[in-house]
């Protein structure tokens, strides 16, 4: 069972997301970068399938040279191989991205392509289905549980007030959602192994004609309020009050 997981390097934002003046980028001066949460789950799911069925897991990203950090993070968690489709740092649209991915894996035999349902920053929801189309694989999105065995995948996803369950033949492409599993942390030896591993670097050329980004917009978030109710036993009456206010008791 050979699995490919496609991930994206995205900023790890603070309490609020600050956009550039032209609203084209997130200001990342103070931010670290991470893997989109859905994709972290895709990596975890791939590792679990491998642990059960054997085979290997390859992680792929399209992004700047610094995206090797995310590839190494995945390898620290147990991924075997990594491919970087290196860009000059500009954001590629989903069409160009999926074309580059499809080209890069054209001569490779993967039984399963895993994606995150959507990226954490641009949220295009497209790369998975576009790559599946290019490869002529069946595609299933929004998957919250997945079992792979004997050339088939049984996957389920949430629908309105219901759960849809699918059985599809492999090879297939699937995009998963956060909640499908709890991703592991990289271990210290894993991190050290990852440092020494080779990363395949390709430099695809972008194609034009895909959807164009006009601007970013920060959705209205909820205000978080933290109140310390007290310490130790003395806090109990206040905790009770709050629980009662919230109708928990």
């Amino acid at each position: 069972m050979n699995i490919l997981v496609c991930i994206k390097r995205v900023p790890a934002p603070g309490r609020s997301i600050i956009l550039s003046e032209d609203k084209q980028e997130i200001i990342t001066r103070n931010l670290g970068f991470t893997i989109s949460p859905h994709e972290e789950c895709a990596i975890e799911e791939a590792l679990r399938i491998k642990e059960k069925n054997g085979g290997s897991v390859t992680v792929l990203t399209l992004g700047p040279d610094t995206a090797v950090e995310q590839l190494r993070q995945a390898m620290a968690q147990g991924v075997d191989e990594a491919i970087l489709l290196q860009t000059d740092g500009k954001e590629w649209d989903p069409m160009a991205t999926s074309k580059a991915i499809a080209d890069a894996i054209a001569d490779k035999d993967f039984d399963l392509l895993l994606f995150g349902n959507e990226s954490a920053d641009s949220g295009g929801y497209q790369v998975g289905s576009r790559v599946a189309f290019a490869k002529d694989f069946p595609f299933l999105s929004g998957v919250k549980s997945l079992h792979v065995a004997e050339g088939k995948a049984i996957a389920s996803r949430e629908a309105l007030h219901a759960r849809e369950i699918y059985e599809i033949d492999l090879p297939a492409a699937i995009s998963v959602k956060e909640g499908i599993n709890l991703p592991r942390y990289p271990s210290l030896p894993g991190r050290m192994r990852a440092r020494r591993k080779e990363i395949t670097i390709l430099k695809p050329a972008p194609i034009s004609g895909g959807p164009e980004k006009l601007q970013l917009r920060v959705p209205q978030g909820e205000e978080n309020q933290v109140e310390v109710l007290g310490y130790g036993v003395e806090a109990v009456p206040r905790v009770m009050e709050v629980l009662q206010e919230l109708n928990f008791c």
């Binding site: 001066r29 931010l31 670290g32 942390y185 271990s187 030896p189």
Partner: protein
Amino acid sequence: MNDFPKKAKVVIIGAGIVGNCISYHLAKLGWKDIVLLDKGPLPNPGGSTGHASNFIFPVDHAKEMTYLTLDSMKQYKELGVFTESGGIEVARTEERMEELRRRMTSAKSWGIPAQLLSPSEVKDLVPYINKDIILGGFYTPSAGVVDSLRAGTLMREYAMNLEALTIAANTQVLDLDVKDGSIRAVETSKGSIETEYVIIACGVWSPRIAKMAGATIPLTPAVHQMITVGPLEQFESTTGEIEYPIVRDMDTFCYERQHGSDMEVGSYAHRPILMRPDDIPSIEESPLSPTELPFTEEDFDPQLEQALALMPEILGDERAGIRYAINGLLSLTADGYPLLGETIEVKNLWSAAAVWIKEGPGVGRLIAEWMTHGVPEIDPHLSDISRFYDYARSNTHVKARTSEGYNKTYGIVHPREQWASNRNIRVSPFYMREKELGAVFFETAGWERPQWYESNKYLLAEFGDRINNREHEWDARWWSPIINAEHLAMRERVAMVDLSAFTIFDVSGPGVLDYIQYMTVNQMNVKVGRSVYTPLLYPNGGFKADLTIMRIGEAHFRIVTGAGDGGRDKKWFTMHLPQDGSVQFVDRTSAICTIGLWGPQARHLLQSLTEDDVSNDAFPYGTTQIIRIGGLPVRAFRISYVGELGWELYVAMEHGLKLWDTLWEAGKPFQIIPAGIGVYGNTGRIEKGYRLMGSELESEYNPIEVGLARPKVKRANFIGKAAYLKARSEDPIATLCTLSVDDHSSASGIDRFMQGNEPILNIAGEVIVDAHNRPSYVTSAGAGPSVGKYLLLAFLPPPYDIVGTKLFVYYMGEQYPVTVEIVGSRPLFDPDNERMKA
């Protein structure tokens, strides 16, 4: 916001460990109307306290830092937030083992139980350590961890219970108002607060806040990396926060500290990652908190391997994950010490910055005492913010020194070690000549001063048989036997010493005599042309400074003090200037350079260059005159810190080189040599038993104990007089003594030479402590080439303060026999000062 205070006695900015502790201690000392602000939420406003690893190792080589730590530990314990886990510093190299032996020396000096452990003994305490790669460990059973956030909350609660404190969280400081040089108000996002005092205790943000008032707090935010690995099966059965000793892997500059089911690994090994305070993200922008920045993995990677080698069983656990990893921000200063005290620029604006968790409560007490009584119990000279001169308060200097210093956090730092960065900031007019003569420059307060001259190496042939060679590399590091040769040549012939680093103040005006009397202990109403060496005291009668003052006019005094002390002394003198403008203060340091000309031939040499009479009758000891040397107007001052006949020659900077060349040329027939500060500051002075500020002289001791009390007390009032009179009426608790080392040979057969700060033990091998709980330790150590002994200065209480008493000094794990030579200030060399007064 109706209840937001409009007025306060004191506003403390920053509710981290420092601000909280200051509010508590001020309240305890009776202060009211204290307002504590923070722009972040409570209890964790987002500063360095919130992400600190919170462990405390008490032993530091510096007494001041150790005492602050010990006081903090005591306070944390009283608050019930201290967990004693013990701590072990492990060595992977023999050089580090030697450093651990030195740690033992300091532990003994400062009264902290500690022991050296074999690798197996380390493993007994830390079963998951790989004992094969360590040579041993330095174990401090009293080390532990604290809950610093909880401590802060309790401190605030205490102050609130005394109805002394108002807390305003989520309140940003927008500006500081200064009027007539004093702080007046704090403008905040919630309104303006009129206040008498402001204390800046906001860690990495402190420079930015100080700048609002036109003041400087010279620190830089710097990254300290930390990861947490877990959950670990081995820790499953542990209870509480910590059960195993904290391990400091000193040679890799890392630490490993159990935290519940996790192991924290922190590093001081990576490249220095500095930040500007203005670039710290806001609370809104920060992923975690403003001081928990994104982890940069590549900086930490080398440490992973080293940590894994030390604790393979635990950190090699494939099931344990790296759950948390940050680039945590902390504050660094140019010399590694905190920045405490009133700022140089603005009256009543105080700094309490660059303080670590281990010092927080101690610093809280120190600042509160200082503000209340004018002096803290623990002498603050290392941390006093006014130690930094203008150049040293620049970003350039702070950046250079912190970049160099970061990796010394766990480094082996020799007490004489010199900085490499940002040198040649202040040089005398003789600098080029000194370079030509092979001067080895040491730095003091930016000044380049020759410590010795390689060109004097030839003197070893003449004097070598009277010089102890230092076989041990540590003892000989940053040292040369040439120093002792220069010393002996000076005592036989004549030497010139560059003293341009002196800090020189002129005070004058109609009110000057009253002013100078008030500042000093000794009688200053002397004839014009006379000088007085005098202590300056804190209000509690402890030492603030010692310096020499010349009366150079009826209403004109010249104050000469050391370069290292000049910043603090300037602050002290200027803060006490009368408000009525009757005294003018001028810092003349940059205008005047100085050469010390000393030795039996000094008079012959000087007389050959001047038409003025420099005989003993015309120019007696302790007086000053303007004479002409080769036509140059020179203020000559007959004084000596090395106990020789001679003069300090003060001349305008622009004449300096000419004066040097003139003395040099005329000195050749007298076999003149240039001598370095190694002679001036160490061998020469120690033979004479002269005291040094910051070594022997501290606020913790009074003039009687250091043997500097004069027979009479002047009628005029002066700072510390009441305490001084009281101390005179009592027997001293301890007296400063000069000791000599009887036998230098160590167990390995190599002679060893103490460097300072070593404990003095009685004949039973016990550390000597006086009735005020002050330990007896070596305040200065150095060769006395002319007396043929190696000398130590130390305070000794009865019954040990008797000439001839046999004691031990403890150095690098061994005891060496010593004898008390002198009790009090009588010099060992030339006890009646016949040479100086010849």
